[in-house]
Amino acid sequence: MGDKNSTNWRTRFAVQVIVLLFLPVAAPAVPADPSFSPTNIFAPVSTPAHSIFGLSLFALAVTASIFVIVFSLLVYCVVRFARRADDDGREPPQVYGSNQVELAWTVIPILIVVVLFMATARVIASIQKAARPANAIQVIAIGHQFWWEYRYPGLKVVTANELHVPVSDPAHPTPTFITLLSADTDHSFWVPRLAGKTDLIPNHPNTMWFDPQQTGLYLGQCAQYCGTQHAKMLLRVYVQSGDEFNRWIEEQTQPAHASPAVSEGQRIFETTACINCHAVAGTAANGLFGPDLTHLMSRETIASGAAPNTPESLKLWIQNPDAIKPGSKMPAMGLSDHELDAVTAYLATLR
């Protein structure tokens, strides 16, 4: 079994492998800078996300060390024990085992496992057993195919797709606790900078919490395959200062503003099948299958983030939802152009 095995070839091989290897390993060390990615798990702004971040660095350090040691041994073996070109063809000494060495490489991994396990158990407890303080904001999130329903029971707010929460001061935390339910299949709430993901499973209520310490818009999306448009069940969490949040709550608790200018649009809305699915507080519309539209215009996006909330895309969505989100549960309503304009004008007043 002869082959070329010059030192040059072996060394080149080893260098190539090392370069190939460290490239992707280095990449995650690349910025915890939010502008790099708004969903970067290494850019936490909330306590659970911070806890996970710290633990993950520890886990990465442990695994990276193991990798460096074992990989070096592999490279050494490949280089040092390659068959030389001038080999005499005799078999090398046969070694069948070694009790001491085998014991050592059993005990040391067990110790590493114990340490990593204990660190992990601590973080699990700190996140899952966190007590809910009295001033926590309570939200009920209900997953639907393919949108998010949010209810603030204490504050009497019902909205959809865009979640607003107050920023939390680390000295006096005001966390948000979310009860996760589902109206149909399994979903998962994942906004990486705020917390790890937790699933929404029918007949299996879950709870999660976060306390974001910086205002801003945080993005995420559904992370459990729930059907055709799983990919466009996007998440937008607006973390606002206390005043802004209170103002938002105030607006959301108002009923819809009636206006005679759009009465035709309102009439079409209420006599077509729209109200079978949609609710507008203070009117005849009280459907529960689709998002509550009472304050539709307070949202920046429609169709759970799939399109911006502009008159054009709103009109397109009503005319032909499949153009934006094929497979969503919104049917094409078959309205004429005139009816579409009227309804869109009506919806534009739902601030």
Binding site: A27, V70, Y96, V113, I124, I201, L219, G227
Partner: protein
Amino acid sequence: MSTDAISTLRVEMPSRPLVAKLHEWVTTVDHKRLGILYIAYALVFLVIGGIEAAIMRIQLIRPHYNFVSPGLFNQMFTMHGTTMIFFVVMPLLFGFANYLIPLMIGARDMAFPRLNAFSFWLTAFGGIFLYFSFLGANGLYGAGSAPDVGWFAYAPLTSQTFSPGHSTDFWTLSLLVSGFGSIGTAINIIATVLCMRCPGMTLGKMPLLVWLNLVMAVLVILAISPLTAAQVMLLVDRYLGGHFFDTQAGGSAVIWMHFFWIFGHPEVYVLVLPAFAFISEIVPVFSRKAIFGYPAMVAAAVCIAFIGMSVWAHHMFTIGMNSNANTFFVLTTMAIAVPTGIKIFNWLATMWGGKIHFKTPMLFAIGFLFQFLIAGLTGIMLGVAPFNWHLGNSYFVVAHFHYVIVGGILFATFGAFYYWFPKMSGKMYSEALGRLHFWLFVIGFHLTFDFMHIPGLLGMPRRIYTYEPGRGWDTWNLIVTIGVFFQAAGILVFAGNLLRSYFRGKTAGSDPWDAWTLEWSTSSPPPEWNFAVVPVVKSRRPLWDLKHPSDPDWKYE
């Protein structure tokens, strides 16, 4: 080599018509032919599954791309996963097991040759039935086509409400049928290994490949059965109005997850143990040393199988189990890293002090060692439950399990192909083409699966047919897709090498690698009866004893 003349005692038959030859293959009960049928079947589906992967990767090359519709994409990931696991990797491994086990234990065939054939045809039918879904799955609502519920088919997405038509039923029934085939093969392997070893081959003297396949077969029996049960329950729900997973009637979606993963996790050990088997045969021969720590290797395999039955809910860290349950599964998941690590160390120790020959099988084995190490370490990361609350259901997991299955298992299987191709065909493959395959595939594999970890770390969930721009995922997805073409090229070179070498390769002889287990004592390919006289063995490496009569293994074992 006068011994070849003795071993190749065959009567030259007159050339038979093609129909007769095909009939022989279709009706064969010979373990060697069934092994080759399994492997050929798997290779066809490897190409099909690869095309499905390519379609998905092209769709994801840019955000909001429109290469395929969402519905088709969802079918692609469902079919790709189901195909690769059940109709590529499992048949490949069963094929090699079928071919090699009787030869390695000095037997003339498996314990139940007709059950063997029946099991193969059940599996084969299952795969064909699954693909028929593309044509024939239209049900009541005109809905349906290939299944699109993901390869783990979570409830209640699979209920009649959310999956009308028959697409889900094609998933259920095809796996049910091929599951019976798998159980049949597993029973056959256990009975063969326990009841048909040649004289002198105690359990402690079997080649590691035989041991690891024995443990794998036990796992199949314990693990496939829960899937069978769950699928029967799903059929009861879908067609008899049952409520096993009907959350509206008080049923539980979570219990499907438990049942599925009680199958699903041991299943990955079913896939990886035979890969370990290949490495345990290749590394010693190409390092010219006995395997280091044979008893520990056996013990580690048994430990892995045992502990592997207790880790399943690490696939469910995000579903809202309480902290005690989560903590328990973290413990068992990390525990399994210990026997797995031991195996890697033993392979390294086998190479240590040896004289390594860098033939194609060994290149793939070294690739396996490197990649399986990384895969194991990302697995440990995933076992840290709070870290899993980010990484679970993201592209990090997709990268991890492809690292295991492609970077680990497929690499080991390629190594096995090159190692045993001379035995199965009687011809040597082209070493140059083998190297080309290796390097193309290594480059493609790393381009795709190294960089795939990154979108996961940046928040990209799995099973999405498109993604939003501005999340920092675009470049990585592009690189991942480019790697696919290198891998495809590698597969083409591989297929070309096999075909060309089969027809025009040099004669291999019975023992081209100067190896030590019983299969190398037969001609290449072996006669139908394997051994004219049943061998009697005294050690783990019977041919080493013959080649080194002054220094046989049984003096040291």
